[in-house]
């Protein structure tokens, strides 16, 4: 029923069912989704007295007509007391229609008894349902949505300059409008960077342990070999970007546990510099 849930986010529709979809807070989320290539489809019933049941009807129609990749759903609709938890009813109907459709639920708090009710309703059918606070940043919404929808795409953007293309085993650098293939990164170096980029896509703060990366190094001292490969990757990326990456830049060693990607942020653009698909 739904579109492909892995791979690039380009063109994937996200059904937004929220009576506050025109609020500034939601606009910032919708804008972020569009920046990432998603196509938000906002459910907007018409009429003088719009209540939760109309949202439910419109949402269920939109599920069939729009075939979204995921749903962003509010728990609370309007000020009518009977609509206080209409979102949970809508969730139940969505899960009945398509148990595999990812649903990210907006709540004023993502824990508590109403989350438990919703979890109890959804767990029985193994639905991919997650909960997020309405005060969450657009970044956080995007990350959670991505993880619900599927695995890392073939193309992972590392910060704003680098792009890893897993289909063609290639790494590119975007520099002043040009996209240059970094030929030095291939073989084991590519595999190490891919491992780091995949973890980075899942969670920017996630460290990849040495044990996982040492599979791609060789020699008696695999740790030392890994260190050399990491240095070579940083030099190659730095050369392509016309800069030099220090010890605590781009790929950082976390207390002798593993490595983590930490692409440089460009000032004033923090909201758009995360991992992109």
């Amino acid at each position: 029923m739904t579109q492909q849930r892995t791979g690039s986010s380009r063109g994937q529709k996200i059904l937004v069912v929220d009576d506050e979809s025109t609020s500034d807070l939601m606009r910032s989320v919708l804008r972020r989704l569009e920046t990432e290539g998603f196509r938000p489809v906002v459910v907007q019933p018409s009429g003088d007295r719009v209540d939760g049941r109309q949202y439910e009807t419109e949402a269920l129609f939109a599920l069939t007509e729009e075939r979204p990749a995921a749903v962003l759903l509010d728990v609370r609709f309007g000020e009518y007391d009977e609509d206080r938890f209409m979102g949970l009813n809508i969730l139940k109907k969505i899960v009945e229609r398509d148990p595999s459709l990812p649903v990210l639920m907006f709540t004023q708090y993502a824990q508590g008894p109403y989350r438990d009710t919703a979890v109890a309703a959804s767990l029985s059918v193994n639905a991919p349902v997650d909960f997020i606070d309405k005060l969450a940043s657009p970044e956080e919404v995007l990350l959670r949505l991505r993880r619900l929808i599927g695995s890392a795409p073939d193309n992972v953007k590392i910060g704003q300059q680098f792009e890893l293309d897993a289909t063609n085993n290639a790494v590119y650098c975007h520099n002043e409008g040009e996209k240059n293939h970094i030929r030095e990164i291939q073989g084991m170096k590519f595999e190490i960077l891919k491992e780091l980029a995949t973890a980075y896509f899942r969670s920017e703060a996630e460290v990849v342990p040495f044990s996982r990366l040492e599979r791609f190094s060789e020699g008696e001292d695999s740790r030392a070999s890994l260190r050399v490969r990491i240095r070579e990757i940083k030099v190659a990326l730095g050369k392509a970007a016309n800069r030099e990456f220090g010890a605590d830049e781009l790929i950082i060693n976390i207390r002798n546990r593993g490595y983590r990607l930490s692409p440089p942020r460009i000032s004033g653009t923090s909201s758009t510099s995360g991992p992109q698909g």
């Binding site: 609020s23 824990q111 059918v125 639905a127 920017e204 996630e206 460290v207 342990p209």
Partner: protein, 354 residues
């Protein structure tokens, strides 16, 4: 002491029945026989005793049945009363939280809208305006946590509150919390990292909401004091799993460590700079851990102080909070919390799923 009409009726019935038993016992001893030549050697006092006993028992039984019916309709026994009180309190809090959150959501939404427009236009903002916008953004996680702390406090006041056991992915919880704080940490020059050992940590049975709340409190705390690094590490042994939140802040003096989890204790007491803490976060965190048969422990090396004191890495000062939770066996089907199988890994009763 009887306090309600139901109690009064119950005690009266028991008293009448008791008198009946007494009359039955003493009847043959003190009364005259009505029919000495028959087997019916029952005394009038015994008749009175039997009737009194029946009336007493009928009163007790009637009271019990009426109370049971009323209880099933409105939850009038004491346990249901507590449950109702708890539900009513949670409902009040829900409404209160929604109303209180609304102005902050509006402010936050407006700030994000303005920020987006300014970034699109490329206009350079005065430092003070950017500072104000950053401040609003930085307060959002604290505001979220504050509301959650109040909600959990309300929940902890419920004498019937129990952990809700469900299949939980601890690595997923830590990942979500890292997502929540990562951008903010970066803005503040703090490297926030997390890892799990083993990397594919798997599922455990636990109280997801409690784990989330505990670790959020610890990371939020670490954000206030870290010099440049926060690390969250997830490990396990055959009986327990551990979530350690480490920061390279200036640490806590030994003399203050025993008070760290006291209700209302504030970091100011330990000489730290943060003044706005309610002193509830760590208390709640440890209470939640203990409610799940686990614990929360603190370890810290305080800054030696003086000119040239370096970062945690260089100077050796740090604070480490470790959550310890038991690796539970799967609860009996439907016996506790959610019984649905959302993880696809439930293969039989009593099975450990890690």
């Amino acid at each position: 002491m009887p306090r309600t009409p139901r109690d009064i009726a119950l005690y009266t019935g028991l008293a009448i029945a008791g008198i009946g038993v007494l009359l039955l016992v003493i009847g043959p001893v003190i009364g005259d026989s009505l029919s000495p030549d028959t087997v019916l050697t029952v005394e009038p006092i015994s008749y009175a005793g039997a009737i009194t006993l029946i009336v007493g028992l009928a009163l007790v039984a009637g009271t019990y049945l009426i109370a049971r019916r009323a209880g099933s309709n409105s939850g009038s026994d004491s346990d249901s009363g507590v449950a109702n009180w708890s539900q009513v309190t949670q409902d009040y809090f829900d409404t209160f939280s929604h109303d209180m959150g609304r102005p902050f959501r509006r402010i936050l939404g407006r700030e994000r809208e303005v920020r987006a427009r300014i970034e699109e236009s490329g206009v350079e903002l005065p430092e003070s305006v950017r500072g104000l916008m950053d401040e609003i953004e930085q307060q959002a996680p604290s505001f979220r946590l504050m509301l959650e702390n109040v909600r959990v406090l309300v929940e902890l006041e419920d004498p019937n509150a129990n952990s809700v056991m469900e299949p939980v992915d601890p690595a997923g919880i830590v990942r979500n919390i890292a997502d929540r704080y990562f951008a903010l940490a970066k803005e503040q020059g703090i490297e926030l990292s997390w890892w799990a050992e083993p990397q594919e940590f798997g599922l455990v049975y636990g109280d997801a909401a409690a784990i989330d709340h505990v670790v959020t409190n610890l990371v939020d705390n670490a954000m206030k004091f870290a010099s440049g690094n926060i690390e969250v590490r997830l490990t396990r042994n055959p009986t327990h799993y551990y979530i350690r939140v480490w920061d390279d802040g200036k640490g806590i003096p030994d003399s203050h460590l025993p008070h760290l989890f006291d209700r209302g204790w504030t970091p100011a007491l330990a000489g730290r700079q943060e003044k706005s803490s309610s002193g509830l976060g760590l208390y709640i965190a440890r209470t939640l851990c203990r409610r799940s048969d686990g614990d929360l422990a603190a370890e810290s090396v305080a800054e030696r102080g003086g000119v040239g004191a370096g970062t945690g890495e260089a100077d050796g000062h740090y604070t480490s909070m470790t959550v310890m939770l038991p690796l539970r066996d799967r609860p009996e089907f439907g016996s506790n919390g959610h019984s649905g199988g959302g993880d696809g890994s439930q293969r039989g009763n009593g099975e450990r799923i890690t």
